[in-house]
Amino acid sequence: MSIERDVVSRAIKGDGEAFAQLYEEHFDRIYRYVYLKVGNQAEAEDLTQEVFVKALEAIGSYKWRNSPFASWLFRIAHNRVVDYFRKQGKVEKVVLEDDITLVSESNPALTAERQLEIEELINKVKKLPPAQREVISLRFGAELSTAEVAKVLGKNTGTVKALQYNAIVALRKMLAK
């Protein structure tokens, strides 16, 4: 049994420590994915919290089925984000908040610069068609492999690679302007 499988099995049986381990392992990636999708820190925090609450409630019913735990978790995140946009009436917020927490807080200039880069990138990503945006968020925010992205989205890997290629070509054009 792989280490991940062992941890997931223990979490399913109600081992709090195992669930905490899964939380630590996936929290940042879930947050990044959600942030790239919604582009707003407060909303990203609310949604990330909801994803883990949902995961805790549903973990008893998780079945391994040879797909990694991350695919299941990101499926919850994906559904939660879809719900969020549906409730918003399909209007995505473009305005970004400026209090995002960055890795390098020690250098204010760098932080401000990086913040602008993030804002710019998210605004560009938001202009992509929904399927391309989803692939970019899962590949770069969640750092999932193409196979894992395919599982989350219920598409084949060829389609995911094509969407990824088209998205990067479109972003390159946008960034060059």
Binding site: L36, I118, K161, A162, Y165
Partner: protein
């Protein structure tokens, strides 16, 4: 766009996400390098910028605490549930169902007594049967209820057969057999003798009560078979063989149950 370039881009991305440089990737694909280079540079911006997005540590800690609290609350609930004896949980369930019935309306429950399997009130009928079984005070009462419900299944089989719905017959026949099986299985109706045979349990089932049960079973057999045989004349030709088979099976089931009850009593 060629699928080949999409594949190469993906492979380079995998390598870059593991920390390889864009140059190393371009060297691996010299022919595609001119087209690939700007895409890899854009990808690098994506990788670097995305990785800078981090949740605030206090937010992460807050969610952790909330999940921990939820986790312990759930554990406590499970442990509390495990401490409640099964019979109390069954009673609680039955009382909830009764309340439900009262809310739905006594009339609805009464009307459901005649519902057939493909009718909306049929689930109410089955739920009402379950509640009555749960609330039965003794195994003798349960056995009598199973006989009543076996009769109900016979009426339902006749009803479905007359409507030409042969697919329901076998399911209902199996359910009828199950009710009859439960009559004999009623735990305190019999006790195991030293020889390993079954005899009436004196404490919970006095001989006259067991005689009543025998009589009830025998009457139920007559009524059920009468209803089913009567339905044969009104059943469409295509459904008749299924109904005839069901009648044979049900007759055997009743006879077997009767012989077991008599056999048990003769010890």
């Amino acid at each position: 766009m060629g699928q080949k370039l999409a594949d190469i881009l993906n492979e380079c991305l995998e390598r870059m996400l593991k920390g390889e440089s864009t140059e190393a990737c371009l060297k691996a694909y010299p022919e595609e390098a001119p087209e690939l280079e700007p895409l890899l540079k854009t990808s690098l911006v994506l990788i670097q910028t995305s990785s800078a997005i981090q949740p605030a540590p206090e937010f992460k800690a807050k969610v952790h605490s909330r999940l921990q609290a939820m986790f312990y609350a759930r554990q406590e609930k499970v442990e509390r549930g495990a401490r409640i004896p099964i019979w109390r949980r069954k009673w609680a369930l039955a009382m909830t169902a009764i309340l439900g019935f009262l809310l739905i309306g006594v009339g609805t429950v009464a009307a459901s007594a005649y519902a057939l399997p493909d009718e909306p009130l049929y689930p109410v009928k089955l739920a009402e049967e379950q509640v009555r079984l749960t609330l039965a005070f003794s195994d003798m009462d349960k056995a009598k209820l199973h006989i009543q419900f076996a009769e109900r299944r016979a009426v339902e089989i006749a009803g479905m057969a007359c409507q030409g719905k042969g697919d329901k017959i076998s399911v209902l026949t199996a359910q009828l057999a199950n009710h009859l099986g439960q009559v004999y299985k009623a735990e305190k109706l019999y006790e195991i003798t030293e020889k390993g045979t079954k005899a009436p349990a004196a404490a919970s089932a006095p001989p006259e009560a067991v005689e009543d049960l025998k009589m009830m079973l025998s009457n139920s057999r007559e009524k059920s078979l009468y209803v089913l045989e009567n339905a044969l004349g009104k059943t469409p030709q295509a459904t008749k063989p299924g109904l005839q088979q069901a009648i044979e099976d049900i007759r055997k089931d009743y006879d077997e149950t009767l012989s077991k009850v008599r056999g048990g009593l003769s010890q």
